[in-house]
């Protein structure tokens, strides 16, 4: 007969092995980012020789230089502007539509909804070519407004889907009560439906914010004007122009990555929910 001690030791060993495996992978995930930060604190002279993770002298002035000279301050503000504008736009437009798809009746409702859903699933890899032509015709290329509209469109279908699914599962009593009290349809949407949808709205906000902040290809196609570029585009420009100024590039990368990591750590719950609900849809 095997003793309970045997089982205990076996369990402890298995757990140790599992932790070893998980920690190794976790370190692999974190290390490149630590190296990025470490490199951003070295100088043009030391960065090519100093292989230590914690540099002897910490050159925080690289961040000042990147912000001012590298222009990352400007690009940072651009990215913030695009992210905030697109997220607000998506919240309003997609929640209006999702509410209508879930609650209101009108001819063509299902057709329209399924068109949105189909759009979510059909990949058109060359769409940016046509989008470029379209924006040129509308005189919206090289404008912040054109980029914002395009990015709202990118996030729309998924956001509508998430919100509609939520409204569908939600009881109507509160809304009916508000209607009886004389609230208009828009009043119900604004005062009842939106506040109720807060948990899903959080998912929609975080998901779209990450998406806009990290977007590259539309920014590449739409902007020639340096002053309008968001961070992702600016990083590639900077790398192309100053290929060897690694400390400043690394500072720029850190400036770009840090807000995302902070938002992620704070809003983890919603991001994970978003990923898994996306998966459920597929």
């Amino acid at each position: 007969m095997k003793t309970s001690l045997y089982y205990k030791t076996k369990k402890v060993t298995t757990n140790l092995l599992i932790h070893f495996f998980l920690i190794t992978v976790a370190i692999t995930c974190i290390f490149p980012l630590l190296w990025m930060v470490s490199s951003s604190l070295k100088t043009q002279q030391t960065i090519f020789k100093d292989m230590s993770l914690i540099p002897r002298e910490l050159h925080f002035e690289n961040y000042y230089l990147a912000w001012q000279e590298g222009g990352f301050g400007r690009y940072f503000l651009n990215s913030i502007l695009y992210t905030v504008a697109v997220v607000i736009g998506i919240i309003i437009i997609s929640s209006l539509a999702a509410y209508a798809f879930s609650r209101l009746k009108f001819p063509g409702r299902n057709l329209l909804f399924y068109t949105f859903m189909a759009a979510m699933m059909i990949p058109i890899p060359g769409s940016f070519v046509a989008l470029f032509v379209l924006l040129n015709k509308l005189h919206l290329r090289n404008t912040a407004f054109g980029y914002i509209l395009c990015m709202i469109n990118v996030g729309l279908a998924t956001s509508i889907f998430l919100l509609k699914t939520f409204f569908d599962k939600f009881p109507r009593e509160l809304e009916d009560a508000a209607r009886i009290d004389g609230c208009s349809k828009f009043g119900v949407w604004w005062h009842v439906a939106l506040p109720l949808a807060k948990p899903v709205l959080a998912v929609v906000v975080v998901f779209n914010a990450l998406n806009v902040w990290n977007e590259y290809v539309l920014a590449l196609v739409i902007f020639d004007n340096k002053n309008l570029m968001p961070l992702q585009r600016a990083l590639m420009m900077f790398q192309g122009e100053f290929i060897t100024r690694y400390p400043l590039l690394m500072a720029g990368l850190t400036i770009t990555a840090l807000p995302i990591i902070i938002v992620y750590l704070l809003m983890q719950k919603y991001i994970i929910k978003g990923v898994t609900s996306q998966a459920v849809f597929g």
């Binding site: 599992i18 932790h19 495996f21 998980l22 992978v25 976790a26 692999t28 995930c29 974190i30 490149p32 980012l33 990025m36 090519f48 292989m51 997609s94 209006l96 539509a97 509410y99 209508a100 009746k105 001819p107 329209l112 949105f116 759009a119 990949p123 058109i124 890899p125 060359g126 769409s127 940016f128 070519v129 046509a130 989008l131 470029f132 032509v133 379209l134 709202i152 469109n153 729309l156 279908a157 349809k185 949407w189 990290n214 590259y216 290809v217 992702q232 990083l235 590639m236 790398q239 590039l249 990555a257 995302i260 992620y264 750590l265 983890q268 991001i271 994970i272 898994t276 998966a279 597929g282």
Partner: protein, 292 residues
């Protein structure tokens, strides 16, 4: 009254439908139209060429098919290496162990970063002259292993595939973990009472119940990886000498490099059709797999 109410209802969907029509439907139609033309994107005159663009893609454009093969190679590595790692990690986390939430938090950091950030950081680490990886190899006395990882045609593509997998596995991990957590614990309990060992319950409970999730992750991995290109722009920009080109990079090059807008659209359509076919086949395959 009823007409007014219906009109009011339309107002709710109007902004969404408007943006969607202008920025999705119109470009969608234009891609198909432009694919039949030869056009530089600037001149007012487009020359109708019928299916000539498609003919060129299928019979003459060797770089395009090379790019397709490269994307296929990266996808193959993502499907095996990345998803196997994701599954293994999910399986390791799907039990009573400490720090489970900590691991979950860390593994999803690479997926939330942008491809530009990930690409440029890894490019720096993998730099042939001053990169950390070669520095370590030299310190370990393995200098003969050090390498121009991204500028040597022999290693560039594989290196990119590995970085791509690094960025992506956390996402598969989350979905696998969510899938594993839906399996009722009682099933494992019952199996244990019946004398099944760990391997037998893995083989007979976990694997069959995870087939739908696995197929889903596989479809999304294929669609996502075949279309990945920003990471490549940041790491090699398709070089050395076309060795890391992928289809979307080619579309971008047709448009921006050689100003062949019609050709770029035709490439987009051909690629889109291939992607649709892949996901359709996978979908059918998963249906039969579920019935067995």
């Amino acid at each position: 009254m009823r007409v007014k109410s219906t009109l009011e209802n339309y107002l709710f969907v109007l902004p969404a439908a408007g943006i969607f029509a202008i920025f999705y439907i119109i470009p969608f139609i234009w891609v198909f139209q432009l694919g039949l033309y030869s056009w530089d994107g600037i001149l007012p005159t487009k020359i109708f060429v019928g299916l000539a663009n498609f003919k060129e893609i299928f019979f003459e454009d060797k770089i395009w098919w090379g790019a397709m093969r490269n994307a296929g190679y990266i996808t193959l590595i993502a499907l095996t290496l990345q998803n196997a790692l994701a599954f293994l990690l999910a399986w390791a986390c799907d039990r009573e162990i400490r720090m489970k939430n900590f691991y979950r938090m860390i593994f999803f950091i690479p997926p939330v970063l942008s491809e530009v950030v990930v690409g440029l950081v890894w490019q720096w680490i993998l730099d042939g002259n001053y990169g950390l990886l070669n520095g370590w190899l030299a310190n370990l006395g393995l200098a003969q292993w050090s390498h121009n990882w991204l500028s040597d045609p022999a290693t560039a593509l594989t290196t990119i595939a590995i970085v791509h997998s690094w960025k992506g596995f956390g996402w598969g991990f989350l979905i696998f973990l969510a899938g594993l957590q839906t399996i009722p614990r009682e099933l494992y309990e019952a199996a244990r009472v019946d004398g099944a060992n760990a391997w037998a319950s893995f083989r007979n409970i976990t694997v069959p119940l995870m087939i739908p999730v696995t197929v889903l992750v596989a479809i999304l991995t294929i669609l996502g990886t075949m279309q990945a290109f920003v990471l490549i722009i940041a790491m090699t920009d398709g070089g050395p000498a076309y060795h890391t080109q992928v289809p979307v990079l080619r579309i971008l090059a047709s448009m921006r490099g050689s100003s062949r807008f019609g050709y770029a659209c035709a490439q987009g359509i051909s690629f889109g059709v291939i992607l649709m076919a892949i996901s359709f086949i996978q979908y059918r395959f998963s249906k039969t797999a579920r019935q067995v």
